[in-house]
Symmetry: C2
Subunit: 297 residues, 2 copies
């Protein structure tokens, strides 16, 4: 049984939640409010505020609105439980990955630019049908990307840290990467995956391969990727640095499609996030075990 | 048993086909060559040449490289058999439809334009997850669109001229259209479907609905669509007129994504088309029944 208030962004506040303080992006609560907070939901990626954790002396639980939790770990006070939003973003992220692959291979990005000058420029595209895809990361995003690609006639192979049914181990990447038409990055950012896609990794990709990053920007060494374009192509929903500064070389690099970290952010997100937050607060108050615990109890 | 030459575009010529004349786009064969042709494959949509049928006095079979056959019918000499390329383009067309829906709902088109000025503009998108879709046309394209949307968590409903398992009849459209988030046009162009999407049809769509045309441009009355934008949005891979002239109002209409009739045109197309043409020529020469006959024997 836990008492204390719930501090939660206004657009993620479940209906009818008792003892709940909604906040607007950037609006810092006063000290009296902060002192009562036991359950904190940080803001979404546009207005990150993990440093608020330090201002909440009676904090017990941090429920992130994201699946990724790398940024929050650095701010997490000792003894506080950290939960992520597994289940909330994965389908939207998988949708974006698949839609972006089709957009790039069919030239929807070029067509969108051609519209601004009224140019009708018919060109042949690449088909997903029979394309081979290696999906690195066999969690919620990776498995959903694999299902969607299969339904579209492609041939995906999931790769995880450890082998299991339908998942090959990472040590087989040197055999898998050279024959992949598409490589999707769907891993969490950890010490093992940070900088994983470097010169050595990229050199294993075949000419014309399409690298898709819906994980975290720093999984790829940006300069190493720039050196390989346009021998390979890339779809980047996440980049390093992020947000990408206006003058960065990636914006105009050949064979690249950049989207502004929109993977999990659809109208499905606030609905599913409110459901999760409501359920987690009920569990916390009643002393039940929390879901999606990534650090702590 | 049929003799005569096969006249076929160079890039669609199967390997090792005997008595075969390959032509390049726009290169008209001489009269002696024309007089021997019994089996003709017209050029693809960039260089239409259905009028060549009239120059081939011994023509028996026209094998189109497209699924649509509306343009060929007007030129077909009496007694000549017309076959389409059913099976060759459908998967690629369905891929484009699904990829374009995701591109539009997630703002990949806007992101592609933002890249040209280095703008990182994060916005929330719409999710396919739980979206309702009405797919008009339950042939090869429509059924493949439905499968892909189902795999992505959407709820598609196929509509055909006549009801059958999994397909509702067109007379139910007045009940279906007002609750659809997405309406996909995947019908052949016929007297029944030409101009089908007019003011009355469009008025049944809910605010914010997305109309997707991967059929033929003139299924939609362009001026009626223009009058409804941006109350609804539209993805147009085919338009009327086509190609769309540089100064046409559709290019800059709000809420529209235009691609230059690339639905069936991927690297899968020449491969699958060559397989089909080789099989059809063998059937024609040996007197077996032809596949995909849309007019004639």
């Amino acid at each position: 049984m836990s008492a204390g208030s719930v501090l939660v962004p206004d657009f993620l506040t479940p209906d009818g939640l008792p003892d709940c303080v909604s906040y607007r992006s950037g609006e810092v609560p006063d000290d009296a409010t902060c002192s009562r907070v036991g359950f904190f939901v940080p803001d979404y990626i546009d207005a990150p505020n993990p440093e608020w954790m330090q201002k909440l002396p009676n904090l017990e639980v941090v429920q992130l609105p994201t699946v990724g939790f790398d940024a929050a770990l650095n701010h997490l006070p000792a003894g506080v439980t950290l939960c992520n939003a597994a289940g909330v973003h994965e389908q939207s992220t998988a949708e974006l990955a698949v839609g972006s692959i089709i957009a790039r291979w069919r030239g929807i990005d070029r067509a969108a630019r051609d519209m601004t000058v009224g140019r009708w420029d018919h060109r042949r595209g690449r088909a997903l049908q029979e394309a081979t895809a290696v999906i690195i990361g066999a969690g919620g995003v990776g498995t959903r990307v694999a299902s969607a690609l299969t339904a579209l006639g492609a041939r995906p192979q999931l790769v995880g840290q450890t082998a299991r049914a339908g998942v090959l181990p990472a040590l087989e990447l040197p055999q898998l990467l050279p024959v992949a038409d598409i490589v999707v990055l769907a891993v969490p950012l950890t010490a093992r995956t940070e900088g994983m896609v470097d010169r050595a990794f990229l050199s294993m990709l075949r000419d014309g391969a399409l690298l898709v990053n819906v994980a975290r920007g720093s999984v790829i060494v940006t300069d190493d990727l720039l050196a390989e374009l346009p021998r390979i192509e890339a779809i980047l929903d996440v980049v390093d640095p992020e947000p990408l500064p206006p003058e960065h070389a990636l914006w105009s690099a050949p064979g690249v499609l950049i989207t502004p970290h929109i993977g999990g952010d659809t109208d499905a997100f606030p609905r599913l996030a409110r459901e999760l937050i409501g359920a987690q607060v009920r569990r916390w108050r009643s002393g039940e075990g929390l879901l999606n615990v990534v650090r702590g109890r």
